[in-house]
């Protein structure tokens, strides 16, 4: 069925257009189409999904969207406050837009460096600017950036080493956004395998598994994550730490999923279609993968979607405490670590900005997951 038809169906109940209604009988739609129909009803989910796509897109092409290289530092431009792009100068509308230059003064009392706008100097901001050279995904050499300027242009300010915060947030998104995905993938694998085994075989295996899950859920998540993250050897490389963190995050996450899958399998195990498959001579593995797991798919997807934000927040919290991702790798939590000392935040409040994408992404996932939960059972009213 084409996209156009699907839209027509959704509008019919309101308009009472019986002809169109008769042309597509909801009973003939596939499960997937029914889920999509239900999902689209939630405006929040569509907003959340769009936000997520924008963030993942920007992380994918971080090199292009970031005005600078994430690790380009400048000792003379530390803690520059966010600059704004101006479209109007004293002489009216200006194209291209521009940023003012910066002048440095020292606070007479605190001896602190302060940056102020130097209105006499203007630097035009251009689209598709040729700036810091980079290799896109480590392969294609390029130097094109979405926006850029010949002068200093720090739209979200700089950190203590004079690095552009906007660029660092875009690059950091790569880690923050994938930690949740990889972690959830791991816990879905663990959870569905152990959950099916537990539900299908039952008996002692089931009992031990349930006790283990109970034990894991008796631990408070953050302290346990902290203890495990602190155990990662200090000489590990960034990539090893990254995977170490995702494994740690998924270690606590699989329990809940395993329980749900087990319940589903337990309920399905004695159903006629499973007995029929067994009578027809199907092996355990075949029954599990072809008959039992597919009935739990929609359930698994919903639980997984709702688990991703928790993992993103977990990584952020760990990195914030200095136990997670380590520099030179950047994640949103690593960026927030600089804001850990309150005295620093009081002076340079823009260091809290990496929290904004964290919150937006987490809310996006919650919106989408919530709508998926409703949509996963499209036969209910």
């Amino acid at each position: 069925m084409s996209e156009h038809d699907a839209r027509a169906v959704d509008l019919t109940p309101d308009r009472g257009n019986l002809v169109a209604n008769a042309s597509v009988d909801p009973g003939q739609l596939s499960y997937r189409q029914l889920v999509w129909r239900r999902f689209r009803r939630s405006k929040l989910a569509l907003i959340g999904g769009t936000v997520l796509m924008v963030f993942y897109g920007m992380a994918l092409f971080a090199e292009f969207f970031a005005p600078y290289d994430a690790n380009r530092d400048n000792a003379r431009l530390r803690y520059v406050p966010p600059q704004t792009i101006h479209f109007r100068g004293p002489d009216g509308f200006s194209w291209p837009p521009f940023v003012y230059g910066l002048t440095q003064t020292r606070d007479p009392e605190t001896r602190e460096l302060i940056f102020t706008q130097d209105i006499s100097r203007r630097y035009p901001v251009r689209l598709l600017h040729r700036g810091d050279p980079y290799r896109l995904w480590g392969i294609f050499p390029c130097d094109l950036h979405l926006i850029g300027s010949d002068g200093p242009m720090y739209l979200l300010g700089t950190d203590r080493m004079g690095r552009d915060l906007l660029s660092r947030i875009l690059y950091g998104g790569r880690i923050s956004l994938t930690v949740g995905l990889v972690g959830v993938l791991l816990s879905v694998l663990l959870g569905s395998i152990l959950g099916t085994i537990s539900g299908y075989w039952g008996g002692v295996v089931d009992l031990l598994m349930q006790r283990l899950i109970e034990l894991l859920s008796a631990f408070p998540a953050i302290p346990l994550w902290m203890a495990l993250a602190a155990a990662l050897p200090p000489h590990w490389t960034g990539i090893q730490v990254y995977f170490g963190i995702t494994v740690i995050l998924s270690l606590l996450g699989w329990g809940g999923l395993a329980r749900q899958v087990r319940g589903k399998v337990l309920a399905m195990r004695e159903q006629d279609f499973v007995l029929a498959a067994r009578a027809a001579g199907a092996g355990h593995w075949y029954i599990l993968t072809r008959h039992l797991l597919p009935t739990a798919y929609s359930h698994i997807i919903v639980v997984a979607t709702l688990a991703i934000p928790g993992m993103i927040l977990g990584e952020t919290a760990l990195s914030f405490l200095g136990l997670g991702i380590r520099p030179p790798l950047t994640s949103w939590g690593v960026l927030l670590e600089e804001a850990q000392r309150v005295t620093v935040v009081l002076h340079y409040p823009w260091l809290l900005l990496p929290a904004v994408p964290v919150v937006l992404v987490v809310i996006g996932y919650n919106f989408v997951g919530d709508a998926l939960r409703d949509a996963a059972d499209p036969y209910s009213t």
């Binding site: 631990f219 602190a230 952020t316 309150v342 809290l352 809310i363 919650n366």
Partner: protein, 329 residues
């Protein structure tokens, strides 16, 4: 009832043993031990390895040269006497270090839990009785934000805002004046309450947002039940129907969720305490983990799990008390 409590307590013993083993293994995971770092420090300081013999001596004194099961047994067998080993860093018994901090941890966690429920239940009731009204939609949206904001960030933002608007720094649980004062006085209690509201709000926020949604859903389910219609047909006032008849039943699942929300609250307490520098076990745990101060870290994790087990038990008892239909025999 007493039967049930005793059985639950007995069941908690194997769990505790498993938890103590797990805590011990986890803190043993990092390669090397506290003394390795100490030796490296000493070597840097003096430029030679003359301190090596001294380090070996220390290692023996703390029993770090023994195999793991033996060390575990030595640690666990002390529990009965209230001995949890010594902290390497502070060179003091662990129980002396965590005793007071545990008190504050329990106080903050229980306070946050009560605060969470005190807020979530009325808001949930309001939200359910005003379903699809703009205020309900507003609360739904707020709940999504509340569930998505990490506690430590809210803590940072509140500190910055309060400091910039009122010029008051909001760290710790006491002002410097009362911090030094040992013992308690009326002024110190007031000072504590004055500092307590920030962590309470911050820790409760996530839980409140989630629970209020649950309360709303439960109440909506219950409001469709026949006994509610009967109550209305009897001519009872709507407020009586909602509060005495419907909400009374809708609260039960929330009480059983108390056991589940405790780990989250304890997690929240840990991280918010680190940001706000509160005298709970949270900052001490972070420090101990970074230093590989293993007996200290292990004992803190053990006690946190113990708190959860006790909390779960209390939640079950509360449920039995609130819902007379539940029988445990």
């Amino acid at each position: 009832m007493i039967h049930y409590i005793v059985r639950r307590l007995l069941l908690a013993i194997p769990t505790l043993i498993a938890i103590s083993i797990l805590s011990f293994v986890i803190i043993q995971l990092p390669p090397g031990d506290y003394l390795d770092e100490r030796i490296a420090q000493l070597e840097q300081q003096y430029g030679d390895s003359s301190s090596l013999a001294q380090a070996e001596q220390l290692r023996k004194q703390y029993g770090l040269d023994r195999p793991m099961p033996e060390r575990y047994w030595k640690w666990v067998s002390g529990f009965v006497r209230g001995d949890f080993g010594d902290s390497f860093r502070y060179e003091k018994p662990v129980n002396e270090l965590i005793y007071e901090r545990l008190g504050f941890t329990v106080m903050l966690s229980v306070g946050s839990l009560l605060f969470t429920y005190a807020l979530a239940i009325p808001i949930g009731i309001y939200s359910a009785t005003h379903r699809y009204h703009w205020s309900d939609n507003m609360l739904t949206l707020l709940a999504f934000f509340g569930m998505s904001l990490p506690g430590f960030l809210i803590a940072l933002v509140i500190i910055v805002v309060v400091y910039q608007v009122f010029g008051v720094p909001l760290f710790g649980l006491f002002s410097p004046y009362y911090q030094q004062m040992s013992g308690w006085s009326w002024g110190k209690v007031m000072d504590l309450l004055n500092h307590l509201w920030v962590p309470l709000i911050v820790i409760s926020l996530n839980g409140t947002a989630a629970l209020m949604r649950v309360m709303r859903g439960n109440l909506l389910d219950v409001l469709g039940e026949p006994f509610v219609r009967t109550a209305r047909a009897k001519g009872l006032k709507e407020s009586v129907v909602v509060v005495r008849h419907a909400a009374r039943i809708a609260i039960n699942p929330l009480i059983s969720m108390m056991g589940m929300s405790l780990p989250e609250i304890l997690s929240g307490t840990t991280i918010v305490s680190i940001v706000l520098n509160l005298p709970t076990v949270g900052p001490l745990l972070l420090q101990a983990l970074q230093d590989q101060d293993m007996y200290l870290a292990g004992t803190i994790i053990l006690f946190m799990s113990l708190l959860l087990i006790i909390g779960n038990l209390l939640a079950d008892i509360a449920l039995a008390w609130a819902d007379p239909r539940i029988r445990y025999e």
